[in-house]
């Protein structure tokens, strides 16, 4: 970028490629307003297949974005929780998307 170039686009925040997959975006968005969601309920809300949900949750858990596990109160089901880090990074991702939309309006 040249100095004093007024037509230059404002800098865009980087988008986390982990969230690019549409199904992952929907999964994280469903988890955001919740303390936890059971696997079966998450299937119902997101509308993705069981195997796809398992695959995406594994990828998100490996990256430390979600916690998937059994709890004392829930021995059979699997409760999915958005971690603090996942919540923060997802907020950054959504802010970046909003910035893209805002910048395009200018």
């Amino acid at each position: 970028m040249r100095e004093g170039d007024d037509s230059a686009e404002p800098a865009r925040p980087a988008l986390n490629p982990l969230f690019h997959e549409p199904a992952r975006l929907v999964i994280l968005s469903a988890l955001a307003p919740a303390e936890y969601i059971d696997f079966a309920a998450l299937l119902l809300i997101t509308g993705v297949s069981k195997s796809a949900l398992s695959k995406h949750l594994s990828a998100l858990a490996d990256a430390g974005m979600v916690d998937v596990g059994q709890t004392a109160a829930d021995k059979r089901g699997r409760r999915v929780v958005l971690t603090g880090r996942g919540r923060a990074e997802f907020d950054v991702y959504l802010e970046a998307l909003e910035a893209i939309v805002r910048n395009a309006r200018r």
């Binding site: 975006l25 929907v26 307003p33 919740a34 059971d38 809300i45 959504l94 998307l97 893209i100 395009a104």
Partner: protein, 147 residues
């Protein structure tokens, strides 16, 4: 990523968040309405010894629910809506109770509990969903609790 793509993603994200919040609010409303109706029925049937069992059932259902909402208490409008819906539930209970007693209906407590349950679904459910999704703003510091 272009603007159109970003807009579509934001829209998909909001839809999923609202669906999730609505589902969680529905679960909470069902459990609360069931508790209110059970309490009304127990009082009308004069089986107060069942109260312990009703409370235990409520606690068990609360613990076993598939989705627990994370409420944003920093959303003032949502908080006001929730408080107003709580007052509406109490008002519906009192009004129906007064009506049922003045007309001489049997089971006035159960009838007023049903009226309260309807207000829970009509008013508390959307208020809870609103508190869970916040103001659809991201990156805000949330003062959260749960429901």
């Amino acid at each position: 990523m272009n603007e159109e793509d970003a807009r579509n993603r934001l829209s998909a994200s909001r839809d999923a968040s609202h669906r999730s919040a609505r589902q969680g609010a529905l679960g909470t409303a069902v459990i609360t309405a069931a508790l209110v109706i059970a309490l009304g029925a127990v009082v009308d049937l004069e089986m107060l010894w069942l109260l312990g069992l009703v409370v235990l059932g409520f606690v068990a259902l609360s613990v076993a629910r598939p989705l627990k909402l994370r409420l944003d208490w920093s959303d003032r409008r949502g908080m006001l809506l929730f408080a107003a819906s709580g007052l509406a539930v109490i008002a519906a209970y009192l009004l129906t109770q007064w009506l049922a007693r003045s007309v001489g209906w049997v089971a006035p407590n159960t009838i007023s509990a049903f009226a309260s349950a309807m207000v829970i679904f009509a008013a508390c459910l959307p208020a809870l969903a609103r508190l869970a999704t916040g103001q659809a703003a991201v990156g805000r510091q949330r003062k959260s609790g749960d429901a």
